[in-house]
């Protein structure tokens, strides 16, 4: 049974690898401050095992330019960083190719680094696939996105409201349960009414937080008595 399953899965995998391509993942956009470092992540999905000949290449296309230049290449187990272009001495390979991670780190950002970075990964024999791009936006001051502050304020206030209501009902429930169990254990059914109020009064004096709950319980008792 197990061997049949293993055989089917191997056959399926070999079939699948011929109909699906390699899929490269990067972020969509990266926001960073001038002078800071940014890590551009790149990963891929492939049906094949990670080959020792896996390659990662990064390309940079400035905003407004038509063509891009190659700034990084990893192949044959060696990482080649930019030593002539705009990122010389600023680029560092921080990925782990055996874990399918081809991320790079760019240090000391400047406004001229705005642009699109394209990552292309190849996992032989799985070499057919689209590359993926990440846009880098460099800011002097990271802007507050529209609606973040609004949503935060509304969320916090409504959350506090729900929390206060929940605590209030919890307190009432706990007080009612404690009073009920005390009166039942000590005096039974006969002196329940009187002892109940006395217990409630003692509790009210002892714990000012439960005063409100006790007061509403008293009100209910009074209305019950009035009806009687």
């Amino acid at each position: 049974m197990l061997s049949v399953l293993a055989l089917t899965s191997v056959v399926l995998l070999s079939l699948a690898s011929q109909i699906t391509a390699i899929v490269v993942y990067t972020s969509w956009e990266k926001h960073a401050l001038v002078g800071s470092d940014v890590r551009l992540s790149c990963s891929f999905f492939s049906w094949h095992w990670t080959s020792p000949d896996v390659t990662f290449s990064w390309q940079y296309r400035p905003d407004g330019a038509k063509e891009g230049i190659s700034i990084f290449h990893y192949g044959g187990g060696v990482a080649y960083v930019d030593n002539k272009g705009p990122f010389r001495d600023r680029l560092e390979f921080v990925g782990n190719p055996s874990r399918r991670d081809g991320s790079i780190l760019i240090k000391e950002l400047d406004f001229s680094d705005n642009g699109t970075f394209t990552c292309d990964a190849k996992n032989p024999p799985d070499i057919v696939g689209h590359s993926s791009s990440v846009r880098l936006l460099v800011f002097e001051k990271v802007p507050v996105q529209a609606g973040v502050v609004t949503g935060a304020i509304i969320g916090v206030v409504l959350g506090l409201l729900i929390l206060i209501v929940a605590i209030y009902y919890l307190m009432r429930f706990l007080v009612a349960r404690r009073v009920f169990s005390l009166s039942m254990s000590k005096h039974g059914k006969k002196g329940k009414g009187k002892e109940g109020t006395q217990q409630k009064q003692a509790l009210a004096v002892a714990d000012p937080v439960k005063l409100k709950a006790a007061a509403s319980e008293k009100k209910k008792q009074e209305s019950r008595r009035e009806k009687k």
Binding site: A146, G147, V148, V149, T150, I153, V157
Partner: protein, 157 residues
Amino acid sequence: MLAILLATIVLHLTDLIILFISTCANAWRTDGVRNYHLWYDCTQKNGEADCSGTSDADWLQAVQALMVLATIFCLISFIFFLCQLFTLVKGGRFFFTAVFQVLASLFVMSGAIIYTVMSPEVKNDNDAYGYAFVLAWLAFPLTLISGFIYIVLRKKE
């Protein structure tokens, strides 16, 4: 008794409507052909409105949040009022209704004050405050009065 109840309900509904209009209408300031704040920046061009989003300023987002919260709290207090009208014991006070209404008035006050203090200076002669801004300032005393009425109001059979 019925007259007081009706008047209170009318006042509360008026508050609710004023708050809704003030929050949703995009007319806190106008510049003749251009009306902007609280949500969009729209310019009238040959009968068409050319709109873009307002700046992402922190204070503007705070005003947006406070106005929305004031409207929500006024609505909650109205629902609470209708609930408490039927479930409250005789002689009881509309405590929760009053609390929410007063909170709504505080939020409207904060929003209107923040907007008044932080809104950009008058640029030309046509620049003026819009009707939504006036309604927001009007909503503050009305909701406060409504809240105080609920504090003193007692339920009678």
